[in-house]
Symmetry: C2
Subunit: 110 residues, 2 copies
DNA sequence: GTCAGATATATCGGATACCAATATATCCGG
DNA sequence: CCGGATATATTGGTATCCGATATATCTGAC
């Protein structure tokens, strides 16, 4: 495996991307990331919830409790206007980052 | 910028890739990463040297002091057999990681 | 000639944040 | 009824990143 830090840093980006299409709760986010990446990305739940709290404090996402009788309580998150801006910026810098890694790691073979 | 953790985690991979073609010293590595990525990746030197020490302890690289009269002393690193194995593994998981991010971040628009 | 800036390596300490462990609680299938 | 999945949360140990600081040499400018 590549160093775990890479998976760490990408978590915010993926959460924003997943919330861009629809509201979701924390547990669902972690399962989605795992299944859609076909197991390549696994999410530690004890990192997930603090991360969601930090992203909410930063104003990128907004959570609200959904409590219905005979159902577990869940906190659904939606992406904010600032969150969408951050997502757009992160999409771009993600591509730039991938290009940069390719440049450095491939040129070295020359 | 994407979260700084991403840059962190990639450092090991890039160092191994750069040492694969030829021996280099620490300062040179940091400058190479910066210039070849056209400034997209910048390296904090106070993280670089501890990282090189850790990689040496792990047996991925080997350093030797080069001291010549009328020259600054430098520590040149060469990649080891284990380092090449690690590099091969990291190249593969880097590609897997990029694919996984693409899967998750793009499918979400559907 | 000397001074700034680049080259070159290294350590310390504050701050961040990951992850394992633990806690709590509900739902469902066997 | 009990194990496993669902669902959220906190605590505490650990890692490590980065700014600040230290040391020393070389080069070019003025």
């Amino acid at each position: 495996m590549l160093t775990p830090e890479l998976k760490k840093g990408s978590a915010e980006f993926l959460i924003l991307a997943l919330l861009d299409s629809q509201d979701r709760h924390g547990y669902e986010l972690s399962k989605l990331i795992e299944s859609r990446s076909r197991g390549a990305l696994s999410f530690n739940v004890s990192s997930l919830y603090p991360l969601l709290h930090r992203m909410e404090e930063r104003g990128w996402i907004e959570g609200r409790w959904i409590e219905r009788p005979a159902e577990r309580r869940r906190r659904f998150y939606s992406i904010t206007r600032d969150g969408r801006k951050a997502l757009a910026a992160q999409r771009e810098s993600w591509l730039e980052f991938v290009r940069a890694i390719a440049l450095v790691s491939k040129e070295s073979r020359a």
